[in-house]
Point group: C3
Chain length 159, copies 3
């Protein structure tokens, strides 16, 4: 493994770590900055993903749509205070071409409610495409594939 390859792997580790930290510190306004302008972002179930169904629980086809989503979340700020903790493991390069990399990873999100109750909120995998932007790697596509078909309908934050 040469130095360039090692560097790429550690950069990907940094990308997912920063992504998780952005969400977990409620810095949602920074979340769209992890994506390209014409990105595709989707949350779907493993069942639907494997069946090839395109529609997800959340579906966005541009960075602007992600910005709109953050605005909506902020304005609808009526939910009970809660915290999320993303644990992301197993970041792997699943494919590569001249334009970018296909990257997969596993995630687990624990939600902590105001009263201190902690629950496993979501588990699944990311099936992503990343490309090099001027300041580092960006998500050109992010499929958040949940192991569960059931997801909290009050889904408050991005995954």
């Amino acid at each position: 493994m040469d130095l360039a390859e090692i560097g790429t792997r550690l950069e990907l580790h940094d990308l997912y770590t920063a992504y998780a930290a952005c969400l977990d510190t409620d810095a949602l306004e920074g979340w769209p900055e992890f994506f390209t302008e014409d990105c595709r972002y989707r949350i779907t179930s493993a069942e639907n993903y494997e069946a090839g169904l395109p529609i997800g629980l959340i579906y966005a086809t541009s960075k602007n749509m992600l910005r709109d989503r953050v605005s909506a979340l902020r304005q609808a700020n009526i939910y009970e205070p809660q915290r999320y903790r993303h644990l992301i493991t197993g970041v792997a390069i699943a494919g590569r071409d001249e334009g970018g990399l296909e990257v997969t990873a596993s995630f687990l999100v624990v939600r902590t409610m105001q009263d201190g109750a902690m629950t496993v909120f979501a588990v699944g995998r990311y099936i992503d495409r990343v490309v090099r932007g001027p300041a580092g790697w960006l998500f050109a596509r992010k499929d958040v594939v949940l192991d569960s078909r059931r997801i909290d309908t009050l889904l408050a934050i991005p995954l």
Copy 2:
């Protein structure tokens, strides 16, 4: 740390990531391919492991036994559909000799049932020996040491 050592560490990261992905995508037929022909695979409890008791909940002493186990699981395919998600962290080289490496890691497995309920299914550590095969690292020994003494008797998939 030199380039060879760094490469080895990232290869081990890849090994555990691929191992988890194999199980989590239900690609069980590929699971024995992570092992040497004369491997030893065992699932046991921390209590029994620390007491030096050799027998485990599952005990196999060859790759063929692992293949048999997969066949049995496929034929007994009467269980409720469920998904597993392995999060593996803390991969570390605990020892090395001319023949291979002693490697430890922590794991957490979340099981998601058909109705969407998610539970912590297993936590523990891997205490493994890996050797270089023609196409990469293989497990010559894998001890799956569960923190819990209690394990679902319908244990459906390998850990």
Copy 3:
């Protein structure tokens, strides 16, 4: 990314992996050895951390205080046998100066009781300062910032 930087990152990975292993194998006497003599160790809630409140659930300002804590835990060894499993992800260098590094990471701790019940015991992040000691990196400061305000009052082990 150059070889020195890559080496540092893998060394930090090793530090957190060894730290988790120390706690998870109940090798508590080794725990203070991860710290400098004049370290600060604190467990606090995210709420208090963000409010800038200095006091924590646990607060120590030297390695000797950590040793005392271990002694107290051993002498008060009246609790139900239990096991802990730390999963630490997202180790990142958040800052650096001549004296050391500011490092953050996410953690999840699962507790397994004698009867086999597994629960998410704690989630949160480490906000640490590490410095180079004679035999490797040491924690000069470790803030264990819990997502939850509620913590088991019988908090048995360090986090």
